[in-house]
């Protein structure tokens, strides 16, 4: 029997995961919590084999950060990240943190139980790409990684110079990137670009710090 912990702050999705696990004969739900920051403690006290970890959990605790710490301290515990946010950096960050599998709540084709089976069998299951999200006159597949980085920082409301400092580029380069994105999307201003980017979930600033290298 595989001991599972669910880390999910919303009642409905959490209950769905609990129901799937309870309905299965191979899995046992040992803990179901809302806050990713607390997950590490239960890994100490309970014999957890598998964690279904949401990314945005209660009190804005990051599931990715928690997963990174847990994988470092308890490498035997398997972790599946479950999210509905199409933030482009999440896949890369999850891989960097050593997360075993990744599952998009809305669009992943296979059932979660099947993914749990494959993960427990030693497979690392990741979607090929992040979901393609419509964005202005274009969609998210038309953007480069560097453009996403600038876009993410843009949602902080900071100046080009401050964004440039953080990304290691000049303010003129930042301005050029923003201009290119405005042309691609057809948005009228940088504020509109930032608001729409955040609204679509393409970039989330406070939860997307790059893993330490």
């Amino acid at each position: 029997m595989v001991n599972v912990m669910v880390v999910e702050d919303q009642v409905m999705p959490r209950q769905l995961f609990e129901a799937f696990i309870n309905a299965s004969q191979d899995y046992c739900l040992v803990r179901s919590i809302k806050n990713a920051d607390m997950a590490e403690l239960y890994c100490e006290s309970d014999e957890i084999d598998l964690i279904l970890m949401d990314i945005c959990t209660a009190m804005n605790a990051s599931g990715l950060e928690a997963a990174e710490v847990i994988k470092r301290k308890f490498p035997q515990i398997k972790i599946i990240i479950v999210t509905s946010l199409p933030e482009v950096s999440y896949l890369k960050r999850a891989r960097g943190a050593g997360v075993d599998s990744f599952w998009y709540k809305e669009i992943s084709p296979e059932p979660i139980l099947e993914l749990m089976d494959r993960t427990m069998a030693g497979e690392s299951v990741y979607p090929d790409n992040t979901p393609v999200v419509p964005f202005g006159l274009t969609d998210s597949s038309r953007f480069t990684e560097r453009e996403f980085e600038v876009l993410r920082e843009l949602t902080s409301g900071d100046t080009n110079a401050a964004i440039g400092d953080r990304l290691g580029m000049s303010k003129h380069t930042v301005r050029d990137y923003i201009q290119t994105m405005l042309e691609k999307t057809g948005f009228r201003s940088r504020t509109e670009l930032a608001v729409k980017a955040r609204e679509s979930g393409l970039v989330i600033l406070d939860k997307t710090k790059e893993p330490k290298k």
Binding site: A61, V69, R198
Partner: protein
Amino acid sequence: MTAFSSLPDFCQTAVLTVYILIALAELWGILNFVIYKSKSRDVFLGIVLFLFTAFHLAVLTIALDETSSNAVIETIADAPMAFTAILMLLQIAATAALFYRMYRRYQTSVTEMSIKDGADKLPTGLCCFDSDGRPRLTNYCMQNLCRSLTGEYLLNAKEFWQRLENGEISPGNTAVQTGQEPIIILESGEVRRFVCREIIAGKKPIYEISAADITEQYALSRHLMAYNEELEEMKKRLLRYSENVTDITREKEVLAAKIRIHNRLGKILLISKRYLLDEESEIFSDELSQMWKSNISFLHGEAEQPDRDDTAEELNDAAKAMGISLSVRGSFPENDNTATSLILIGARECLTNAVHHAKAERLDIRIDRQNGKTIVEYTNDGIPPEKDIVEGGGLSSLRKKAEDSGARMTVVSKPQFVLRLKIPDRGD
């Protein structure tokens, strides 16, 4: 040919007048050479020229006296008028050359007067004074500024500077900044920044007050300040909006889950109908019953479990699971996820420390409110640390999070372990 001595009286007077003017001009030129410290050669040439003109003037003047009988004087006075005229023109040309040299000297040399002239033309107010406050050089602009700001002439620069530093200026002017670099808006709307500095020159110290016109820069900086405030407000709104978007995304997830349950419910209804209508159905009643139970439990759960804040409860459960008795005095900050999150992470680190290092049985968390700050203190009843705690992964990560959100973290190792967090209220 006509000679000077045979000219009519008025012509003789005119010639003598020209010579007098030439002599005076040469004399003035020599004086200027001396004032502007010209080369000795120029002074010498000037003197020679002047002596020659004076000699010629003297000869012609004496020649007018009919009683004189000097042969040399008579020879010169009786010389053809053309010779006298050529001589006079040569002397005028030499004097003009002298003046040209003097002009060049004036243009290229620095004297006290040229410094004063230059300083008066500056748009910046300038006053140099000694340690007693006695002005050594005050330009026109600074005199005007002093009169505008104090109503008096600048007679004691030290006193003037003290008044600027203290903002003691005439009504109508506004000191927007006092102290070491006073900035004053004058009644005319002009903005001046005053700076006083010591100049090392010679043995005695000299001080200089300068008053730069920063009207344009000041207006631009005000404009920039207003623009930055607007940007800051936009930034706050954008961040607040970002937080709301996270909530919206969560609501979308809930909606998606509800749709799934709805679809599942529809499916069960269809199966139930088929089961009720078809007596020979292969559907097992137990299976159907299980499906109903499962779906009802979702709906029931949703009604009974609103998304409440059970932070303290979750923390207590975690402590219990680790075999630690937890005591929380005070309450978690309301509507402040950042502070609550920091308190939880602090509790997590202290619980881990209490179990692994202190072998404690109890963890105390005290939450107080003081001067717009939440003060959190964590202590345990375990073994005190043997030496000062070196912050490792968990504590250093907590410190980074705390400092990023403007909080302060203190770790005390002796006589017992204490972790203290001072978390400011959120400014927005």
